[in-house]
Subunit: 537 residues, 2 copies
């Protein structure tokens, strides 16, 4: 079966190398400042620390430079050993510049930073050279809090039990430390040369990371403990970095709009452009951000787990053996599937599911309501326990020896998900009084953006029918945003600017939402004129 | 002998209750702010910490309010348990307002602060109620670093040895902790209700307290590690206060002008007055500050240990049995001495020595060079080991049974000290181009100010011959300044203003100093016109 795979041709979505991305990445940071101090004399006898602060204030054109006590202790011997020629590692906090470390000029020790995508399911660490901005290495691991519960809700309830919050906090911090040690070792970077960490996670994960109670996040009126956590030092969380490393945790807009999305916006650069763009990040929730340099409107809604491969009986996360692309030959109606790593098929992931639905619809095998058309499905249709299933892969070709099928129920669920997604998109666009055609760039983040066939997503009416070159897949935008935060100078100004620009819209209080949702539960939509480019055989 | 004590009459020096002092003390602090938060709703759902920060910014008319992570963690449950009515303990740092603690409104727990006079020889702790500004209790102890060396120079050298700095640091911090525990217990204040500490010490003591190397303080060009140490948290030095208590260490102007003097200036209020005042603090060094709201000129010089009772063979620090006042009856030339606590005499302290010299001179028993006049001294004079001594107390009346005497050598030493003192004063006054008569208030700090008879000090030409009501004795001005720092709102603004106003003048590079010193080595001075009020029998 793996032999019948079809390459879908060019991925017409724009990749990370688009001009907008390059534009952002070109803003290089200055973490290291070489400073030559004037040695003191009887006539110029201010103290060592004050001498350095004066020099840094002049260099950085600021009146706010701070040195904490432990670092201050080492300055006198450093200055004299280095003959007053030093280099300084600085981070710009909300309070001003913080001197993180100082060393003799020309010191060859690396100056590294760690960007963290703190996902509910998966965590990614990326080690960076702060001087060049280059990635030194990357590692990913499953969020160990899954032992408490795979979903965030279970974890939030667990945090309410005695020691529950501490336990969840230790689980994630210990695992980050373990993988930090490993990644640093692999890259040949001592952990105490990691001087900064940026952490982008949703609001609940951010709370668990900082050991803040997430209790009120899920209780009306849904209040986080903090929207803008302070920049802390690594030692405050016992992180395996330089103890004085600055840890920047992305702020959130609210309980349902977290720092991961702020990081995504930072990476997309939407907040700096005149034109209006849209950013969608699809997980269990679809999180949507629409706006430009003047305003940013956000909303989030349940897009349904179908898209994460969690709902369909044959659904599975993207991984070896997951069907990620499907094609139905127009002539023979034969199914051609592609699996990840070309492994024998064992399930279907989100992008495969969307492909399958689009192909079934294009072939007339399902109708506009998403129901199987018996006459067109023919032998592919099979009734199991009184429910109709379409056979994607016969038992002879699957990994388990059992046929891989998709039921009407699974399909209904997918239709609801796609309808929810389209409704969220059309609602936010309508709320600000524009149309989809006014969206200059349509960013699609995450695995969803990276792997789905946009033609299929449009074909089933999940995404709007826009010129394909307006879609840009920006990959793991949280990780990229966390990375960017460590490579631009005034990252906190930029991040806080985004946070303050964002207006969050509650979808569940929107009156028109249900009407729009009903209209979107058809393929591609009740209003066919919205999808002129979608054709049916 | 104690029976023949004479009360010298009114102490014409102004006491602490002068108007200028009251003026300063009336500026009460606001450590506690009662805040009633608007409970969140779906339409007003910003996070707990951000809600409080917004409220505090409005209340304090600032855009800089900071809450650190540990405190942030307790806000959600505090807000809900207190029904959104809380009180906040705030400290104004150089970076803005720091929330130190928050508790339910009406909470009865005390909010205390600790003022510390960190002397080389003696340390004084004063526990304050921060709300009322009232003193709760006070304790004093000898600086335990004396086991390393009584003088600061020995300690600085010791700090250069392996673990020497740590040892000195631990000695002082442990002893402060011990006495903090004791004082808090006596006053019924839990140590974790002490939310602030202010520390006024000389530059070297400040360094040892903060575990900063004092090595370069005593080496040309005499550079402290820091002039303006940051405000730290109690936990950073393991102090027995609330771990998050803010510790304000007074900044110094340089190696020889420390935070103790900045504290003294703060207390005197010189820096806020239109009129020009002078402040002198006498210890082993005489430290002098001259100025007004526009400028402050400082200098320090060795006044000689004679004034601390350290040099004379019979000299002793002020303590039970120390002769602190002497009168020579004009008719009989009998010595009338007063001792501290009326104990049997065992030595003579600084104020006694000055009295003695003034009385000897007034009685014509010493000449203008300070040499014993044999004809006038008569039987009081005695030669011991070839050196002439004056007998103050016969053996029959002393504690030891031995006569208490003062040698010509001791007297010469005192004359040098008084000459140094007068020279320092006249040099600084001349440097800024004014005369002593232009000094509106002449503050005399410390035990010297509190105990000496100013008539005697002027009589020997140690202090200038000004109207007596211009002299104000301000006691332990370091301790009072440290206290004041905890009772005024914007203490760091005030302190930094002083620090930045002060110009430090190096006396040992002053050309005219030696000429002035020679002229001052006579009683009261070679230029008698400078001391019109001093009469000789």
């Amino acid at each position: 079966m793996t032999g019948c795979k079809t390459t879908y041709g060019i991925r017409f979505w724009e990749s990370d190398s688009s001009d907008t991305m390059k534009d952002i990445h070109s803003r290089q940071s200055s973490w290291i400042y070489g400073i030559t101090l004037t040695p003191p004399t009887l006539g110029d006898n201010i103290a060592d620390a004050d001498r350095l602060i004066h020099a840094l204030k002049a260099e950085l054109h600021t009146d706010r430079v701070w040195i904490e006590l432990p670092l201050l202790r080492k300055l006198p011997s450093l200055f004299r050993a280095s003959e007053w020629k030093i280099q300084c590692v600085l981070f710009k906090d909300r309070r001003g510049y913080i001197l993180i470390d100082a060393m003799p000029a020309g010191d060859a020790l690396p100056v590294a930073g760690m960007a963290v995508d703190l996902g509910t399911t998966r965590v990614v660490l990326r080690l960076l050279d702060l001087v060049t901005g280059k990635t030194l290495g990357e590692t990913a691991f499953d969020n160990p809090q899954a032992v408490i519960g795979p979903d965030i809700l279970t974890r939030i309830h667990h945090a309410d039990t005695a020691e529950g919050l501490n336990e969840l906090h230790r689980l994630i911090v210990d695992e980050i430390n373990l993988h930090t040690d490993g990644l640093c070792k692999t890259c040949g970077i001592p952990t105490n040369c990691v001087f900064a960490m940026s952490v982008a996670g949703n609001t609940a994960m951010t709370h668990l990371f900082l050991r803040l109670s997430p209790r009120w996040i899920i209780r009306e009126p849904y209040i986080p403990a903090a929207n803008t956590p302070p920049v802390i030092r690594a030692r405050e969380l016992d992180l395996h970095l330089a103890p004085q490393a600055c840890v920047l945790v992305f702020p959130n807009v609210g309980s349902y709009f977290g720092g991961d999305l702020i990081a995504g916006i930072l990476y997309s650069g939407i907040h700096n452009r005149e034109e209006t763009s849209l950013l969608v990040d699809v997980g269990t929730n679809a999180e949507v951000l629409l706006g430009n340099r003047q305003w940013l409107m956000a909303c989030a809604g349940a897009a349904g787990p179908a898209l994460e491969g969690g709902a369909a009986r044959m659904g599975m996360p993207a991984g070896p053996g997951a069907i990620d692309r499907v094609r139905i030959r127009p002539d023979t109606r034969q199914f051609e599937v592609h699996t990840i790593d070309d492994a024998p098929p064992r399930g279907i992931c989100g992008s495969g599911l969307i492909d399958l639905a689009a192909q079934l619809f294009a072939a007339g095998m399902i109708d506009i309501r998403g129901k199987f058309v018996e006459a067109e499905c023919g032998a592919h249709l099979k009734e199991i326990d009184g429910v109709r299933h379409i056979v994607m892969v016969p038992g002879t070709d699957s990994q388990s020896g059992k046929a891989l099928t998709l039921s009407q129920i699974d399909l209904d669920s997918l239709i609801r998900s796609k309808a929810a997604m389209y409704t969220i998109l059309s609602t936010i666009v309508a709320t600000v009084g524009i149309g989809f055609q006014d969206i200059d760039v349509f960013y699609v983040a995450g695995a969803f953006g990276a792997f789905i066939n946009p033609e299929s997503a449009i074909g089933i009416g999940m995404l709007p029918d826009l010129p394909r070159n307006r879609f840009v897949s920006i990959g793991n935008s949280s990780l990229e945003g966390a990375t960017l935060a460590l490579t631009i100078n005034n990252c906190l100004d930029e991040i806080d600017k985004i946070r303050n620009l964002v207006t969050y819209m509650e979808l569940n209080v929107n009156q028109e939402f249900m009407a729009r949702f009903s209209a979107a539960k058809f393929l591609p939509h009740t209003d066919r004129s919205l999808f002129p480019s979608v054709t049916i055989i």
